[in-house]
Amino acid sequence: MSVTGRVVIVGVSTHWGSELARKLTDEPGVTEIIGIDTAPPKAGLDKVRFVEADIRNPVISKILPSLKPDVVVHCGIVLYPDEDRPSRALHDINVIGTLQLLAACERVEGLRAIVARGSAAIYGSAPGAPAFFTEDMARQLPLVTRFQRDVGELEGYFDNFARRHPGVTCCMLRFQTEVGPGLDNPFVRYLTLPVVPTQLGFDPRLQLLHPVDATGALAAATMNPVSGPVNVAPDGAISLSRLLKLSGRMAVGMPPLVAGTLFRRVGSMLGSGAMSEDGLFLLRYGRGCDNRRLREEVGYELAFDSEGTARDFAASRHGMSVLFPSPHPGSPVRSLGR
């Protein structure tokens, strides 16, 4: 597909929505970019036409068809709970929002593809899990956390839509954890704590996705969508202990009885509400995803592997010692100053 045409980015004011919009402005195949969100994007995206709408509201079914998109990119799925958005609110945004958006897409004539920015959390984290999940293993382990069930449900609606509309390419991207300089998500905030609590005796294998690849893969999938789920994960894996050593962080192992309650507290320190069950499992058992589909079918060449991302992150943090932790919201240093 050389000419992509008109692209509608839903959730354009989110970090990844804006990044995608910026990336797509240079693409010759894209004739027009329209952004939909509840609030205008923070950074100036002058070539993007902004439409204010809420995907949780049925009015979206009237707005979307009038924009006549060729490709709809759904960046409005929230992958982490926030302080002001507990996991209950996530259900509304993620599941109901996606359902409304898909209903609106049914009315769009000439729609060629829907691309959604989903999460690899659907695979879960378990002691006996495969070292690398392939796309067909999504429901191999039971969906145990609330967020996992939400992702499972919205992927179910997505599959359903794909079955009923064989003419529309439905591409569900499953993103691993993004880690990078200048990025703000609960995992990055966790890594920048002055002393990082870990679960004693466990050293999870993690895959760290570089922001460059997160945006790049999203843009590549928009330009060349393929049917079905696609893992967006870097090559290789790195253990949490090595990641912390590389970035010069002090780790303190917490015995299992303390770890459970403490980690939930840490979550609220990180400004992410209580640390989600997903985070707890991820930091115990880790998770790896196979990225062959992304490389071979979508045709995206990843710039960083897991170790490269860790090193890049560590380099950006160089010189930030225990004395100067980042003043992110909820940082213990900031709360001391209050």
Binding site: P127, G128, P130, A131, G201, F202, R205, K245
Partner: protein, 292 residues
Amino acid sequence: MSDQWPPVDSGLELEWVETVQKTIERVLRRMAGEYHEDEYGFDEEFAETVFPIWEFLYRHWWRVEVDGVSNVPGHGRALLVANHSGTIFPFDAIMMGTAIQKEHPLPRWTRALVLNWAFDLPFVSYFIRRIGGVSANPANLGRLLGQDEPVMVFPEGAKGFGKPFAERYRVQRFGRGGFVEVALETGSPIIPVAVVGAEEIYPKLGESRALARLTGAPYVPVTPLFPMLGPLGLLPLPSRWRIEFLEPIDLSGYGPGASEDRSLVFDLSEQIREMVQEAVYRGLVKRGAAFF
């Protein structure tokens, strides 16, 4: 005394100083995170560091004798299928790996598929991963073989590992034959292996249901020393060992669709089980007395 430091006149002392220097350098480098891990979490440097322990157990504690180690291919994929025993700690896998490292003309590290439950244990989980253990999963086996790695599997699983002492050396049912399926799919040769001696290291006399419930373990064995003597009970008894690597079985003649044929898979699985059982009996006769 000379003014130079380290003193040049004593070769022995110099060597000692160098060893300490190198060790400190390595520890510092590792503390900075500068070491290599592969995508499964295998850490070769760590495996090399603990290798002397296995070497000691291999040579002096269990006096392992090895037959047919050259049956293991020196390169390319290979699936080693062995009987399982040991009750508390899977030393059989470690000794097989040590045998390949020490006796094979082309030594290499061998991965092992490990019972999933082990990955739920603090410390044990990452120790196992660092020395080359991977959770027992057909996807992992297929991926490793596809990357031309040698992999050990123990299809008896917990049934073989935790059987009572009275049933020693009776090879149990080989699971569902999943390893044959993967070998057929990936075209990997199967090398049956018989390990004799690991049954005597922790003779399992009974098991404690209460402790198993408390810890969530599949079973908690009672041996003459464990758990009565506490951590000291984890000391394995110095039995004599014999490991026999049988000739590789080439499955490439069956063609690509063969893994779908359930009865073929079960037949092959049962044939391999019988070969291992025969080799175990043969090895028992050759070994003679268990301890001296």
